[in-house]
C-alpha cells in the first residue's frame, strides 16, 4: 500500500502546484480541441471514400480514437512527466536526492511528477468513447466493460514499462531528449487499429513499442473483437514487461555515480 500512498501524496502536491496556473487548463483544452478536430477531419475524409477501413466501421474507428486520446492523457498526466524528470535528474546529478530517501527508488522515480491539466485528454477520450459507443450497433455488456477496463490497465502498465526502459538508457547515454519525440511520433500510429499495418510494423508496434496492447486491444474489447487468448497474452506480456523493466532499471542504477559536487 505504501506505493499507492506515496503516489497519492505526490498527486496532491502536483495538483496544488498546477492549480496555481489555471490558464494552462484553457490552453490544454484548446490543444485537445485542435487535435480532436484534425482527427475527426481525417476520419471524415476516409469515410467519404470508403464505407469501412479494413473491416472497421466509422463508429468503431471513433472508439479507437477515443481510447487513443484517453491513453494519451494517462501518459501525459502520470507517465511522461515523471520519466522526463528522471531523465533530467540523471543528467544533472540531482538523482542523488532520490537515492537518499528511504523509499523504493523505482516507485519514487515513477510518481514524482503529475500534470493534472493533461488529464483534460482523459476526459475528452471518455467523451469520444461515449459518443462512439452510442453509435455502435452492438450493445455493450458487463463482460465487455470489465475486459475493456482490464485491457486498459494492462496497456498503461506496458507503456509505463516501455518508458522506464527507454529512460533508463539515460544512465549510459546522456542525451536522449529526442526519445520523447520518437515516442510521440510512434504513438500516433495507435490512432488506427494496428491490424492495418504491414506485418513487420505490426509486430514492432505490439512487442517493441506496446501501442497495440495499449490502444488496439482495449478498443477490441469494446467492439466484440477481443478473444480471451489475446487478453491472456496481453496480461502475460504485461507481467514480463514489468519484471524486465524493473530488472533493467536496477542494472542502470548501478551505473549512476552522481554528478553533483
Amino acid at each position: 500500500m505504501r506505493p499507492i500512498r506515496l503516489a497519492w501524496l505526490f498527486f496532491r502536491i502536483g495538483a496544488l502546484n498546477d492549480l496555481q496556473y489555471r490558464a494552462n487548463f484553457w490552453l490544454q483544452l484548446l490543444q485537445s480541441a485542435i487535435q480532436l478536430g484534425t482527427g475527426l477531419a481525417v476520419l471524415g475524409l476516409i469515410f467519404s471514400q470508403t464505407p469501412a477501413l479494413n473491416g472497421w466501421t466509422g463508429p468503431e474507428l471513433l472508439a479507437v480514437m477515443g481510447v487513443h486520446i484517453l491513453m494519451g492523457g494517462v501518459i501525459g498526466t502520470v507517465i511522461r512527466p515523471s520519466m522526463e524528470r528522471l531523465r533530467s535528474d540523471i543528467r544533472e546529478g540531482k538523482f542523488d536526492f532520490v537515492l537518499t530517501k528511504p523509499e523504493d527508488v523505482q516507485v519514487l522515480s515513477s510518481v514524482r511528477e503529475i500534470r493534472i491539466w493533461q488529464a483534460v485528454d482523459i476526459l475528452v477520450g471518455f467523451v469520444v468513447l461515449g459518443i462512439a459507443i452510442g453509435q455502435l450497433q452492438a450493445s455493450l455488456g458487463a463482460i465487455e466493460a470489465v475486459a475493456f477496463g482490464v485491457a486498459l490497465l494492462i496497456g498503461a502498465l506496458m507503456i509505463y514499462s516501455f518508458w522506464l526502459i527507454v529512460t533508463t538508457v539515460a544512465f549510459w547515454i546522456v542525451r536522449i531528449d529526442e526519445i520523447a519525440e520518437l515516442f510521440e511520433g510512434l504513438y500516433q500510429s495507435g490512432r488506427w487499429p494496428v491490424t492495418i499495418y504491414p506485418g513487420w510494423l505490426r509486430a514492432s508496434l505490439t512487442f517493441l513499442v506496446p501501442i497495440a496492447f495499449a490502444v488496439t486491444v482495449p478498443a477490441q474489447a469494446l467492439t466484440q473483437r477481443l478473444t480471451p487468448d489475446t487478453l491472456a497474452l496481453a496480461a502475460a506480456f504485461g507481467v514480463v514487461a514489468l519484471v524486465v523493466s524493473r530488472a533493467f532499471f536496477r542494472i542502470g542504477l548501478r551505473r549512476y555515480s552522481g554528478a553533483s559536487a
Binding site: 484548446l30 490543444q31 478536430g37 470508403t50 536522449i176 520518437l182 510512434l186 500516433q188 488506427w192 504491414p198
Partner: protein
Amino acid sequence: MTAAPPRLVSPVRGLFDVYVQEAKIAIAQQIQYRAANYMYMLGMVAEPVIYLVVWQTVAAQQGGSVAGITAGQFAAYYIVWTLVRNINIVFTPYGWEERIREGQLSAQLLRPLFPIVEDLGFFLGWKPVVVLLWLPIAFFLALVFHPVLNPSPLAVAVFAVSLLGAYLIRSLNQSSLGLITFWTTRVGPVFQLYIAAELLLSGRLVPMQLMPDWVQTIANLLPFQWTFGFPIEALVGNLSTEQLLGGLLAQLFWIAVGSILVRVVWRFAVRRYSAVAG
C-alpha cells in the same frame, strides 16, 4: 602599433559569408548529435508512414485507387513528403519564446545583423546533414512501399528549386509568428492553430485532390500548399510545364509577402523588447 583597419566587404558579400559560416556551425553541431538527430527523424517519419498505410488500405479496398491516386502514387507522395518535411524544419516560435524569455536576444541585438538571417543560415546548414541521414530511410521506405513516379528532367529541377522556396516560406512565416512572443510569452496556442491549418491546407495530411472543393479553394488563397503540396506534386504529380513554373512564381510571391511581413512586424516588435540583466 595600430590595429589593422577592419577589412571592408560589400554588404552582399558580407551577408553571403554570414550564411556560409552559420551553415558550417550547423553542420558541425548536427553531425556531433547524429544519434539524437536520427531519433528525431524516425519520430517524424512515423507521421507519413501512418497516413500512407491508411490510404494504401483505402486504395486497396476501392479496387486500387482513391480519387485517381494509386497505391504506388500514394507511396511516392508520402516518401517525397519525408524529404520535404525535413527541408521544412525551421526555427519555431517556441525557439523565439525561449530566446525572448531568457534574454538571449540581447546579445543578438548587439550584432550588426538581422537575427532572422542567423536562423536562416543555421537551419540551411543543417540540411545537408539531414539529407544524408534521410537517404537510408528513403531507401528502406521505397523497398517496403513500392513508390511509382516518373518525373521529367524539368520536374526534377523544379522540385529542387521548390524545396528552397518551401524552406524560405515556412521560415519567414514561422519567424513572423515567433515575433508574437515580444507581446506574449505564450505562443503555443497560436502556433498550434497554425500547425492545424497547415496540416489541413498544405497537403501535409493528404494530397489536396482528396480534400473537398471548398477546402481547396481556401488553400489556394493561403501560402501553406506551396510548402508541402507543391514541391511533392512537382516530383510525383505529373504537373504540366505551366503548373510547374507557375508554382515557382507563386512561391516567389509568398516569399516576398513573408519577407515584408517579417520586417514590418519586427519594426514594431523590437521596440517592445526589454531584458532583465544580461
